[in-house]
Point group: D3
Chain length 158, copies 6
């Protein structure tokens, strides 16, 4: 039996959630932007004062969470009630670490919203550093935790 | 001296490319969706026939390339002239490999368009497989090649 | 007395549905793309394998359902809970037949969402066939059925 | 040989127009909204004064022309330089007739922009009349004329 | 203690309203477009008949109310249930006066939706008059009234 | 003779600029957010460190410049080549002053882009301060300067 719930008779569809209850849902995702030395340097030099690159990327992530239903074809449009995106520059590990937590009261979950926020925040970091270093790489874009709904809680194992 | 060209006096801006010539630019990026066994299984079972998951993701990637200027705050809106997104399911490596090539005739390059296409295609794969397996991970989202413009050609080293 | 509920004192407005209850609503619409012989031929030749034209159009229809509130000025933005778009190529009748069913739990119905999904799916079929045949025509874009809300069920007569 | 230029090896792509010249392109399309008697009546009664239904639909059509690249997956985003949408209420023929002419200076044509403008204008007429009459039907959505580009002029035959 | 609820530890976020009740919210805002004599003249001459400039601006305001969550980074996306925009040309006062009232049933208010509707309606008036007179000015863009939610009613003082 | 170039025979249209040359255009606009004492206080307290309210508003302004063609119905979509938005908090004058300069190489000017950037930046300031003070007011939203195109340079008089 197929586990691809977005497909019926081999054709994609938006899964019908009309009969499900609207309950509180949360999801947290993460991503890493791996930096080369010149990118670490550029971020160290430029990342002081107002409006630093990480703030731009944080805002881009929040805005992207609201656009998820437009970007992922079979996602339901959800009225998100909270979006929290955090970026930490870890120079000694040569990376920027991103986490995003999104909430809604809806019939389906916000995993894709949290992941999309991380992805666009990471791409925005890339955009601002690409003049200094084109070799950046985005890795570990993945779900950390979700709660709410019939399938209940899920946590990434260690 | 700061190498963060998107910042002037510590504040973000869209870089002024008014004086640059509009020339042909191309960029290719890639991403990997690392699959767990149940995701490999689901994709193998469901991925036959019309409208399979990879086709949905491919289209999502093409559409996303056109939305890059809306998603990445300091990107210029570019009239892209070509967008080619390819997804290959590599069951024996337990992953889906994605590449995107974007072209334009413009004052600035399309690296972000190629990367955004890969990211949204990868997230769409995730969306369709998440009922089978939440532990998927997107990695190696990075630029492979760019050409055109004053900075010329760039290729990821081996 | 005017029956144009979108107008008050001769001026357009978004009808106030604040006092209505959010209940389950469904709507089904259809459209036909009438094909010329060369389009029938092109579709027959190209419509095998993954990612055929009808899959692209189907996805375009689902995405369009989510954009209805942006496209139709006086429509309410609705959190749709299901969108199902189906395209059937009927070569012997020289046409593609499209149906779309949309659902929501909201204060107002989803007729426009179902119609918009059909229209954009039909236009996408046109786009992919226009190199082969410019004379295509979209006809019979119309509502087939709606249910839910105070005005209750409606079915197109025979 | 396949005539489906949007497909390569069975997979959809945005056709590469990078090597084509940007020249003046124009396209004109039309659509008809067939009205039932109660819709003719409602439009006759309500269609006087400022802000009548046809003006709302006309504006919706102009705005939709600008959104074509977002709606039709494999369309190129085009910087349109003119959009002219006209709606005429023909009560004695029980229909609204819509035409749209769009222009651009680009590497590819604006047929889809003209068709999309007509479709969304027609759907907007439907939206405003649906409280009076759900049986409306949109027909004859089709290209009338195009000019510019390598494939040259095309006119719908009589 | 900071009163900037959109900031936590100095970083912007979308305020978490998950625990709040969805209740009826309304907000009314206003704006003024101050006209120079040639703009008064142009509007007087052109503002007769169907589709006059104020109707275009009114519709732009309604559409903008629906886009507020996309435009204002930390705003929640809200399913608005009513949007009413009114423009009055006051030639003797050399201005266009705009008011917008928006309603929703949600966890947070619609002040920004009403203000955004007024702002975009005012800018649209500007756009249509700028060929006649570039010196136009938009002033008094402000909230007049809000009701609903825990903070209750608020009215601009005299 | 009507000076409303957006209207022909009393109906709105997007002005045809197909025959005009694409040349460099620039426009600068400004706006003021008038603050009440509690808003001055909140901004003074919260506006230190990364991610302060003015940075959020600045970014919102840049993003809005790119959305102008979607928001203002009869505006042409323009490929902007530069967008620079600046916000200055002037506590002793109890206001935030905003300026935006936008450039393009196109057939028509970017006045609306500069004005829209200022308007959305100002509304974003309002959004972040509204919990502290609802009485804020946006004033003096107006064009300061434009250059390029057949109509040439224009400067606001003193």
């Amino acid at each position: 039996m197929s586990k691809l719930t977005h497909f019926q008779d081999g054709k994609p569809r938006m899964v019908d959630v009309s009969e499900k209850a609207a309950t509180l849902r949360t999801a947290t995702a993460e991503a890493t932007v791996a930096l080369q030395p010149e990118a670490v340097e550029a971020l160290r030099a430029g990342g002081v004062g107002k409006g630093d690159p990480l703030s731009v990327a944080q805002l881009a992530g929040i805005l992207a969470a609201k656009k998820t239903g437009e970007l992922i074809p079979l996602c339901h449009p959800l009225p998100i009630t909270s979006a929290d995106v955090e970026l930490r520059f870890l120079p000694e590990e040569a990376r920027v670490h991103i986490t995003a937590t999104v909430k809604t009261k809806a019939e389906t979950g916000v995993e894709m919203e949290a992941l999309t926020a991380c992805a666009i925040a990471a791409l925005t970091v890339y955009d601002m550093l690409k003049a200094a270093s084109k070799g950046l790489e985005i890795t570990n874009l993945r779900l950390l935790h979700k709660a709410g709904g019939k399938s209940g809680e899920w946590k990434r194992g260690q």
